[in-house]
């Protein structure tokens, strides 16, 4: 049992690119769900459309990387508009149904054999990240004992946490403003807001687009840090892990999604490494009749589910949430 490896795995995941992807996606969900009360269950779709927007622009259409970025973000905005127009006038659950369906449709289209020439089929696309990698100013990786990052990861971490920081700054500035006040009021009671002369539909649309852009940035960052765009990366579990991260950190709090993602990946990677080691070798810490090595990679998700349940029961507001905002029962 090497606890150094466990800690290294936990910290590397919690501070590394993977947590950043989830932090960005969860910031978007925080705008949707935490502040506005929009149930977007298709954040993976926003990520996928932006990711493939960039990949297809650069690889298939041979456009420049920067134009590809514009197209990618434009695609996530367009998706928000297309989803919002029919559903934002309806009850909240319709948006949930439509978004989850759309994210699946997008994933299946991007992975379809029929569109292999454009989207690369189930293998996806590669070879669009050279501009991004060329910008890397670092010459070597980082190893400070408890964590170690490769030279590519170090660059991704720099870019990624900068994006997360800027995103949080924007959300903070928006949510302390009267604009944010309208969103929070819509979350409470749309009709009350309408009766005071606010165009609820327009505000919901703005929130959907803003959160969708964060999803898009998460998707772009995800394919850049690994250098490939693979459709199966954008399945629905991604959205729900991002929700888990948001709830752990605390919805409707600026830093909630960020801290939530860090904690989420710390636990997932740490537990994975721990149980992996505890069940391997000739004389494992946990004997075979309790858990085999193949089962050990799944136990962390079982514990995650258990943890989420306990969180909802004992601390529904998450790490940062305000108990009073949750505890008051309106009805």
């Amino acid at each position: 049992m090497d606890f150094g490896t466990v800690i290294d795995a936990a910290f590397s995941a919690a501070l590394g690119p993977q947590a950043i992807v989830f932090a960005l996606a969860a910031i978007g969900l925080n705008v949707h769900f935490g502040y506005t009360g929009l149930l977007n269950f298709g954040q993976a779709g926003f990520m996928a459309i932006a990711a493939f927007g960039l990949a297809v622009s650069v690889v298939t259409w041979d456009l420049s990387f920067w134009l590809g970025l514009v197209i990618a973000l434009g695609a996530s905005v367009l998706l928000a508009l297309v989803l919002g127009v029919p559903t934002l006038r309806l009850r909240a659950d319709y948006l949930a149904i439509v978004t989850i369906a759309t994210s699946e449709i997008l994933r299946l289209i991007f992975g379809a054999v029929e569109f292999k020439d454009t989207f690369g089929g189930s293998n996806g696309l590669t070879g669009f990240a050279s501009t991004y990698r060329d910008l890397n100013p670092y010459n070597s990786g980082l190893d400070i004992g408890v964590v170690s990052f490769s030279v590519n990861d170090l660059w991704s971490i720099t870019v990624g946490w900068t994006l997360v920081g800027l995103g949080c700054l924007l959300v903070w500035a928006l949510m302390r403003s009267p604009w944010g006040r309208v969103l929070k009021s819509i979350r409470e009671d749309e009709d009350a807001v309408r009766s005071l002369g606010k165009n609820v539909f327009a505000y919901k649309m703005q929130a959907l687009v803003l959160g969708g852009i964060f999803g898009g940035i998460a998707g772009i960052f995800h394919i850049l840090k690994q250098g490939s765009a693979v459709p199966t990366d954008f399945n629905t579990t991604f959205t729900f892990y991002a929700y888990a991260a948001l709830l752990i950190g605390g919805a409707a709090r600026v830093l909630g999604p960020v801290v939530g993602s860090i904690v989420f990946w710390f636990l997932i990677a740490g537990l994975g490494s721990f149980f992996g080691q505890a069940t391997s070798g000739t004389d494992p810490l946990i004997p075979d009749f309790i858990m085999t090595n193949t089962q050990s990679s799944l136990i962390r998700f079982i514990l995650l589910g258990l943890g989420l349940m306990l969180l909802m029961i004992f601390r529904p507001q998450g790490i940062f949430g305000d108990r009073r905002e949750i505890a008051i029962d309106a009805r």
Partner: protein, 302 residues
């Protein structure tokens, strides 16, 4: 202010007490408003006019279509047919937020305070034309902070008037039912409406607070606003309204001053009941019982 009161009453003096009566200075004017739910005609109003600067009560039994008419007038529901105007703006399928911006603001039967926002934030939300509510200027506080200060000053003045200033920093969800009604009314005033429509302002309010609520409604008129309210509390209707419109089965069945309406036999039959203005005593109850039994007997034989 008795002078104002008599002015309001005087303006209505020559108006005939009949359904759909034309008013000398109507703020709302509507014709042939129809709203059906399936086969049911929830609202079927031939003609309605609301006089400016007075308190008009809208009464009627449950299911008479009062709230539906409210929803239609304020854009929360769409009519099958018909149109109406507010200050010469034609409305009919205009969305609710635009109606509110024109100066026609409503409250709700079940109060809609934003319980997870503080009382003062509830109030600030009511102000219209806020620069900080625009997406592109929202992140830059310097663009909206001075306006926010003005709004806050107005909100504080209103909170004081409605005796909610002690609750300023509390979450609205912690308020009592009556306080919520007050907050909703105060918040509606942040829009600075010309016409304020109150849907059952007295429902669920304890008697101690009722008197102050009545005073607040009167003060709305005295500062020049028009008030239209739905109410079941006949004491309130008698006490503060200048004009009463009676609805039954979606139609306007009577109109007039409170005194004339309460004396109208059709209104009594449809809504008030014969004993509406007497306190019920045990003798009355015995009589009522005998009456009821007699009716039952008749039904049994016919």
């Amino acid at each position: 202010m008795p002078v104002e009161l008599s002015a309001a009453r005087k303006a209505l003096e020559g108006v005939p007490a009949e359904p759909g009566a034309p008013k000398p200075d109507p703020i709302v004017k509507g014709s042939n408003i129809l709203r059906t739910f399936g086969g049911l005609k929830a609202v079927d109003v031939e003609h309605i006019e609301i006089q400016r600067g007075v308190i008009t009560a809208l009464i009627g039994p449950n299911g008479a279509g009062k709230t539906t008419l409210f929803n239609l007038l304020t854009g929360f529901d769409e009519p099958d047919e018909g149109d109406w105007s507010f200050n010469d703006h034609t409305l009919g399928k205009v969305p609710a937020y635009k109606v509110a911006r024109l100066g026609m603001v409503r409250t709700f039967q079940l109060t809609k305070v934003l319980s997870k926002l503080k009382v003062i934030e509830n109030m600030r939300l009511g102000a219209t034309g806020q620069r900080g509510e625009k997406f592109w200027s929202a992140p830059f506080k310097s663009l909206w902070s001075s306006q926010e200060d003005e709004i806050t000053a107005r909100a504080d003045a209103l909170l004081e008037r409605f005796k909610l200033d002690a609750k300023r920093e509390d979450f609205a969800g912690s308020l009592s039912g009556g306080q919520r009604k007050l907050l909703e009314m105060a918040r509606a005033l942040m829009v600075d409406p010309e016409l304020i429509m109150l849907d059952e302002p007295m429902a669920g309010v304890n008697p101690a607070l009722k008197q102050s609520l009545l005073g607040h409604v009167k003060s709305l008129r005295d500062e020049g606003r028009t008030v239209l309210f739905v109410e079941h509390d006949m004491d309130m209707v008698r006490d503060i309204s200048d004009w009463v419109i009676v609805m039954a089965q979606g139609q306007i069945v009577a109109e007039g001053t409170p005194q004339s309406v309460m004396a109208d036999q059709r209104v009594i039959d449809a809504y008030l009941g014969a004993h509406h203005d007497t306190d019920i005593t045990e003798v009355d109850l015995a009589e009522l019982e005998i009456e009821a039994e007699a009716e039952l007997d008749q039904e049994g034989t016919s």
